[in-house]
């Protein structure tokens, strides 16, 4: 019967679905900067970086391989392809000139992990007190927050995908907790 054919299930299907409830993938190395400045320089900074700095609180903007994450009224976390540090510094020096600002390389300070899958938000809510329902924390939203006792920058890149930026020495703690929480989803 056609109905039976439609509901055929392979032996691995359910096991794989459970395993895929949430996955953790380390993000590749990236160039990262903290940009801070005065409003007069925001547009030029966007030009220099190649991504207009989002002016809406807790929102990220992406153009190609580069993203700007709003962290505060005068503060953005800039993410770019690995190896772009010198070029970005040069571009800012060129475009901003004497505009007061601060551009600090934090490429190695942070490290990042991508948390993806249907259970991604649930796993994050094991340590993050924010409302991560899609309507409250939509795709493109980013914020500095806590995961248990670690400070993180949380960025929702898709309905079921988050990027978590964390200082490198907290990576082991973050990973250990995520792994611990993942076990209950696989159980």
């Amino acid at each position: 019967m056609p109905e039976t054919a439609a509901i055929r299930q392979g032996a691995f299907d359910q096991l794989a679905a459970r395993a895929a409830a949430v996955t953790f993938t380390p993000c590749p190395p990236a160039a990262r900067f903290v940009f801070r400045g005065r409003p007069a320089g925001f547009a030029a900074a966007g030009d220099a970086f190649g991504v207009a700095l989002p002016q809406t609180a807790c929102r990220a903007a992406t153009t190609g391989s580069r993203s700007a994450l709003w962290l505060g009224p005068d503060e953005w976390l800039l993410l770019a392809e690995d190896g772009a540090v010198a070029a970005i510094e040069a571009a800012f020096a060129d475009r901003l000139g004497q505009q007061p600002h601060s551009l600090v390389d934090v490429s190695h300070r942070n490290t990042a992990v991508e948390i993806a899958g249907p259970a991604a938000a649930d796993v994050l809510n094991a340590g993050c007190p924010l409302d991560l329902r899609l309507e409250a924390f939509p795709v493109g939203m980013c914020t500095r927050t806590l995961f248990a006792k670690a400070e993180i920058v949380l960025w929702r890149t898709d309905a079921q995908r988050f990027r978590v930026e964390v200082w490198r020495s907290f990576a082991g703690y973050l990973w250990g907790l995520l792994d611990e929480i993942r076990r209950e989803h696989a159980a």
Partner: protein, 1001 residues
Amino acid sequence: MSAPFRLAQGGRIDRARPLGFTFDGKSYSGFAGDTLASALLSHGVHLTGRSFKYHRPRGILSAGADEPNALVGVGRDQTRYTPNLRAPQVELYDGLVAESQNRWPSLSFDIGAVNDLFGRFLPAGFYYKTFMWPRKAWDHVYEPKIRAMAGLGRAPTAADADRYTQRYAHCDVLVVGAGPAGLAAALAASAGGASVMLCDDQAEFGGSLLSETTATIDGKPAAQWIADTVATLRGRANVMLLGRTQAFGYYPHNSIGLVERLTDHLATPHPDMPRERLWTLRAREVVICAGALERPMVFPENDRPGIMLAGAARTYANRYGVKAGSRAVLFTAQDEGYRAALDLARAGVHVAAIADLRPNPDGELPAAARAAGLNIMAGTTVTGTRGRLRVSGATLGRLGLDGQVGQSQTIACDLLLMSGGMTPSVHLFSQSKGKLRFDETIKAYVPGQSAERERSAGACRGIFGLAAAIEDGFARGEEVAQAVGRAGGAVTRVAVTTLAAAPGVHLGAAPHDRDAATVKAFVDYQNDVTAKDLALATREGFRSIEHIKRYTTTGMATDQGKMSNMNALGIVADALRRDIPEIGLTTFRPPYTPVTFGAFAGTSRGQLFDPVRQTAIHGWAADHGAAFEDVGLWKRAHYFPQGGEDMHAAVARECKAVRAAVGIFDASTLGKIEIVGPDAAEFMNRMYTNAWTKLESGRCRYGVMLREDGFVMDDGVVGRMAHDRFHVTTTTGGAPRVLAHMEDYLQTEWPDLDVWLTSTTEQWAVIAVQGPNARKVLEPLVEDIDISAAAMPHMSVRQGRICGVPTRLFRVSFTGELGFEVNVPADYGRAVWEAIYQAGLAHGITPYGTETMHVLRAEKGYIIVGQETDGTAVPDDVGLGWAVGKAKKDFVGKRSLARAEFSKPDRKQMVGLRTRDPHDVLEEGAQIVANPNQPVPMTVLGQVTSSYFSAVLDHSIAIAMVRGGRARIGETLYVPMPDRVIAVTVVDPVFFDREGVRLDA
């Protein structure tokens, strides 16, 4: 094994799934769906515990969270043992192992029961009155003995093998309790798409409806209505159902604590499954549908096993298919009690008598009982009971018109049911800071003025009766849907058929004709508080229920007075001849039922208790056998023992190597802050005591930071990378504090400054290369920096490349030797470290840890903030007066430094101490005096702050803070120790290379 009290049919148990379990080592059987209590009752076992104070035999009293007697320890081994669980809440699983508590040697023969005989000597406040004198006996006799006897249950002796987890969650509406009102509220609240969470502490949803066999809802049996309603809710994507989940606390801003039991009901839980999940839930609206608890009657000897709440017996019969006895007497003050009598009679229990305290019970339920041929004795009280390990009879006395007990008779029974009234469960409402109101009709407190976005529905706000509770649930559910902007329209109402209970309740003690001074009529079963204890407390002058509670212990312990509080209030009000609201009401504190420590700890245990911060070089240190020490959250290499060395040997070797050749040290944990902007130098001028304007790019300066009160807060080397860019270092532990301190000033005092702060602690791995050979090691590795003495003097910084990666290379020293600190992007840290180490082997390079770093700096008299300073030292006290820019207009703390107190000559000043015996190493923290023979307490001049054995000097060294210390150089002072007095000479705190020639090598 046969279960003689199991009914042939009925109940919600699964008779196809028999289970085995043990209680106090004896094997019993039950069925899936049973609780430990229902399974024990099916075998006729009522005796399940001994009371706290008198060790009286006690039985199962209730069928829920209010159970005060049947407290059991559950768990087959110490790693999964939980004490003080309430047997009616313990779900049965195959192989469950349970034991009774508070008895020795056995439940049926308990030595502690002698307390019952001497009960007259154990009145309220017994401990306060008795164990007063002599004072010393408290420590050695009373307290240990009382501690051994007191307490309920025993703590497990092994570490908890279970895992626990936590969740934060948000929703539009939380409905607490899935009884008739809760199910109706959830249906209505979710109809328009609002996100709704519905939690219930039981294994099945339905609440009181699970014990309902005769009522119909919407034309169907209650059980069917539950099933249909739960199916509807489950089918809604916007609804989340949480079973086995207790809402235990209501916290500010509609934050609710829930604990979800995940595996306690399973025989073989999946090893990856946590035992419990703690939810911290924030709901826009909360609907509390917590129901009501039945009140027992307070009468003499009302605590024998076999005496039970009427509603509980009904639940055991209807829900679990268990007869709680063969021959029952009901003592009631309300119509609700009759429901149990009717259902038990239907189940085959012989109901010998119904003693109703009211003179004319005439509602639908008494009428039905009469029609069923039950023997109703109106205007009748119970004046006493018989039986030791089980009730065997009840004495019933007729009340005359004057309220006095007249003619009485004893009726044989093995089950005595009590029904004094219903107490709404207002715990969560009260925890939310809502104001309670006393309702005279039902003689109970009900929710009054709300403080949070919550509302109550059904019995928990005094709306009793099935139809009214369901209607209230629908109405409140519709309200909250509206409130969150997701109204779903009016919910179709359901018709309910059931016998109605007329109002009418009793509060306090029932009348009797016994000697009130000796007879025990229990109010609080768990704490063995009787009516006479409460009366005694009022005679002794207590007036407030808060004081009476603490004096008599009524309402304390695991059940928190769920069953007893209202009767206690009634008795106290009677005794004082005051209205109940005048007596007050004790505070309802979370948690509603006990919550495990594990749930609160969650994943924060073992390696995950705190972040364990490791540097990029940590792995190398571990591979090379380093011993680590905790510095804040960091793991730092403490020393690198070789071939069985102890710490002293390793440190001696490391110190000598640094002074003679070269050492390599991981300084990555140093705090680093990048200060950038046109006003960076101005900001530095204001934050630090030093002057920064004239510091050239490429040069470094040692900076001292004060708090506003003038005391040293932090220090560190600062490099000027460019006109508008400083690379600031802080102490390892001080990094977050310093950044916050700077941000605070920048944002609140000087928002006009164009300067910004960014933490770069973790951007850079820092490799200190220190010693006479340091330059030789680094020279071949550095690509585009001239590190010669002429080109790169002490306290300078250069940017370039090392081993192919970018570096900020500092020439600085915390050892007094020629030294560099190689900063490289952290991900390259280990590779660069290894390259330097390899290159250094030819020059005798030796890795060293924090202990050697401490010794080397102490030899040079360099302070460590937090070791030499204690938050009360100004720069001059620790020899840093030179670092204060006297000509500067202002800096944080400057004004405080001008206080006269800070220039007094007898302030504690930093000095060195030299012992006569070079191998005498003083104890850090030891006190220093001028005359060791003076009487105690001595006049203390100061204390030792740092003390080590210096292998380089082959002599102990010590730094101390001593009153007027600098003027005492050359004097002999004394360090009294428990076994001897050590004489010391006050010396300059720089012990090694006083001229500093090695620095500039």
